[in-house]
């Protein structure tokens, strides 16, 4: 074997494969996810308390008076107000494009962004803690954000306008707290998860306590929908809140995929390869927090999603984070859009009227059992 050394010019099978990270399965996953997003979007656009035919939905989505109008796009993407509802609405735009482009499409777009940020956030946390059971919510982000939301709604109701900001800050603070508790001359994956469990328990108790201070049922309802996670009523303003942090976090996650791979080899190996492990863990956690809190800020706490989606993607493309992050970028939106179709239309479909279920209920009800199924299928859950 040693004698074969020293033929660098020789071509070997697979040598051009070195460092190639994409493959057919990843490509298939992405393509399939895209199709699911499109199909889900069409369903969301077509059905609702104002029904259309598929053709009407299609032509409303591609209504030239909206999608070819720069001013309309500027109003939708940049604001500042809910775009052209009423008087500002350009002449000649029909009722269907109006409903589609002010209510139904932004909800799909927000769902796409929430899906990708939660999925990627979960994937990052799983690599940083080297634990498949990690997710933004296990590590305290959810309960921190939830507590901030409840505090705002119940005790500081005059500041409700800043709710998304407070949610994000609460999530970040809780994670820093978890990190600080777990720190003992360095962190370990197990200590991080255990600290997360403890912080979650305390914060959730505080949340429950706060419910007793709520003045009226409306506040309780609103608080509940934040804590359960819901896309009901999200429109362009929510899109504007989540878009930039999500895009930034996704770019950083893609750039950090190789670092995540090295972290998967364990901190000793990562360190001996020259990585400053604690610093890298902290920076990547920061990216994951940015993504998770952005989604919490618009949709509340959608449970199980950040935990389950990376698993599903891992089953298809393996543990290599260069593939996994890309897979999550596509599969997250697909699954979120589908879950939101269920959340929005389930009661309507069974004839219970126009009320909607929070999407967090759907992800919990579907994701929980699916996770159990994964657990039963695998020999050792926990290790990536």
């Amino acid at each position: 074997m040693a004698g074969e050394a020293g033929h660098p010019g020789e071509t070997r099978p697979g040598s051009e494969y070195g460092g190639r990270w994409y493959d057919r399965r990843l490509f298939g996953l992405c393509l399939g996810s895209l199709l699911v997003v499109v199909a889900g979007a069409l369903v969301q656009v077509r059905y609702g308390s104002f029904d259309m035919t598929l053709g009407q939905a299609w032509s409303a989505v591609f209504a030239p008076e909206v999608i070819l109008d720069g001013q309309a796009w500027r109003a939708m993407l940049l604001g500042p107000d809910v775009p052209y509802l009423g008087a500002e609405f350009p002449e000649g735009v029909g009722r269907r494009p109006l409903i589609v482009w002010t209510i139904r499409m932004p909800r799909v777009f927000v769902g796409v962004l929430v899906g990708m940020s939660l999925a990627v956030s979960g994937a990052i946390f799983q690599a940083v803690t080297r634990n498949e059971l990690a997710s933004p919510f296990v590590l305290g982000v959810s309960s921190g954000a939830g507590l901030a939301i409840l505090l705002t709604l119940v005790l500081f109701s005059s500041l409700t306008a800043f709710l998304p900001l407070f949610a994000a800050v609460g999530g970040a603070v809780a994670f820093v707290l978890v990190y600080a508790i777990a720190w003992k001359g360095g962190t370990s994956p197990v200590r991080l998860v255990l600290a997360g469990v403890v912080v979650n328990m305390v914060f959730q108790s505080l949340q429950r306590g706060l419910f007793f201070f709520a003045d009226d049922l409306g506040i309780v309802r609103s608080a509940l929908s934040w804590i359960t996670g819901s896309l009901t009523g999200v429109e362009w303003p929510e899109f504007r809140i989540i878009a930039i942090p999500t895009i930034v976090a996704m770019i950083l996650a893609l750039a950090g995929a190789r670092q995540l791979n090295v972290l998967l080899l364990g901190s000793e190996t990562a360190k001996s390869l020259g990585m400053r492990v604690e610093r890298m863990r902290f920076l990547l956690s920061g990216v994951a927090i940015l993504a998770a809190t952005a989604s919490v800020a618009v949709a509340g706490i959608i449970g199980f999603f950040g935990l389950v989606v990376p698993h599903v993607v891992r089953l298809v493309v393996g543990s290599d984070y260069r593939r996994l992050v890309v897979g999550c970028l596509f599969a997250g939106p697909a699954l979120m859009v589908v879950a939101d179709v269920g959340a929005r239309l389930f009661l309507l479909a069974i004839g219970q009227g126009p009320a909607q279920i929070p999407v967090g209920v759907v992800t919990g009800v579907v994701g929980g059992p699916y996770f159990l199924y994964l657990m039963r299928r695998k020999q050792n859950v926990g290790d990536i």
Binding site: A5, R12, G185, T269, K271, S272, G274
Partner: protein, 294 residues
């Protein structure tokens, strides 16, 4: 029990040895790197007393130095400290005369590689994926793979003898094959100094020899300085140029295998009654008889 070797002096006293070794010393005089630790005292947070205390331990440039000793004698701890994975309470580690602390983490990883005792990778990584991770210290955050990276990985996979397993996933490898894959990773790191923590423990005899032969070849051909913790004194006697025998956190003796591996040492350090045939052509042969009651 106290050490009786003069370790500071020992490094100069062994340059003229066998013919093969002189040849390697030629390489050593060129660009091989020496790793030296001085007055190390290392303790863990949970203990008051230092686990390891040694005056001078040298890994001479371009040679293979085996660290042996019974369980708990501090040999892995010493190796980790020399790799700058543990910060010593006092003392320093010098890489070619420069303190390892003064290296940036990536620069150190380009000079010095460490293979830990237990390694774990995701099962879906292929041998090649793993080898490419060895290039980590050679790449910037946004750098893509260079021709140099590809060559280093090809060379490493070839040298480790895992070419036929190149696209096999780690989950499908035996323990010995996995270890060779990790060796390929650390070879791709392309360092002047290589520290290996018990790389042959838990392997079958075939793979133990494979690992040791790779280390030998690497040392012969590239003049890499090797520090290797070995469980098996016989193996150390066979493959190493020098042996450091650790006992209770201190080096007990230091030198070429024929001088170090003696019946007295096995009795004093390993508490084993054994006979040693120092005349064997592959280093001293040990025939253990029985354990000595403490």
């Amino acid at each position: 029990m106290s050490g009786h070797g003069d370790f500071a002096g020992a490094s100069s006293g062994h340059e003229n040895d066998s013919g093969a070794r002189t040849e390697r010393d030629v390489v050593a005089d060129g660009d091989a790197t020496e790793l030296l630790s001085e007055d190390l005292a290392i303790s863990y947070p949970a203990t008051d007393e230092p686990i390891v205390e040694c005056e001078t331990v040298v890994l001479p440039a371009g040679e293979i130095t085996a660290i042996v000793g019974p369980n708990g004698s501090g040999k892995s701890t010493l190796l980790k400290a020399m790799a700058h994975q543990l910060s010593p309470d006092s003392g320093q580690v010098l890489l070619d005369g420069e303190r390892v602390q003064s290296f940036g983490s990536k620069r150190l990883a380009r000079e010095l590689g460490l293979l830990s005792q237990e390694n774990d990778s995701p099962g879906t990584f292929t041998v090649e994926d793993l080898a490419y991770h060895g290039r980590y210290p050679h790449r910037g955050f946004f750098d893509s793979l260079s021709a140099e990276d590809h060559e280093a990985v090809d060379r490493a996979i070839d040298l480790a003898g895992v070419e036929h397993l190149r696209d096999t996933e780690m989950a499908n490898l035996s323990g010995g094959q996995k270890q060779l894959a990790w060796i390929a990773m650390i070879l791709a790191q392309d360092t002047d100094v290589l520290l290996l923590d018990e790389p042959t423990t838990f392997l079958d005899l075939h793979h133990q020899l494979r690992v040791m032969e790779v280390v030998r070849t690497l040392n012969d051909e590239a003049g890499v300085t090797v520090g290797i913790v070995l469980h098996d004194v016989g193996q150390a006697a066979r493959f190493a140029d020098n042996i450091v025998a650790m006992s209770d956190g201190e080096p007990y003796d230091w030198g070429p295998p024929v001088d170090v591996v003696t019946e007295d040492l096995l009795r004093a350090v390993f508490q084993v009654e054994a006979s040693v045939d120092a005349e064997g052509d592959t280093g001293p042969h040990i025939a253990p008889h029985h354990a000595i009651d403490e």
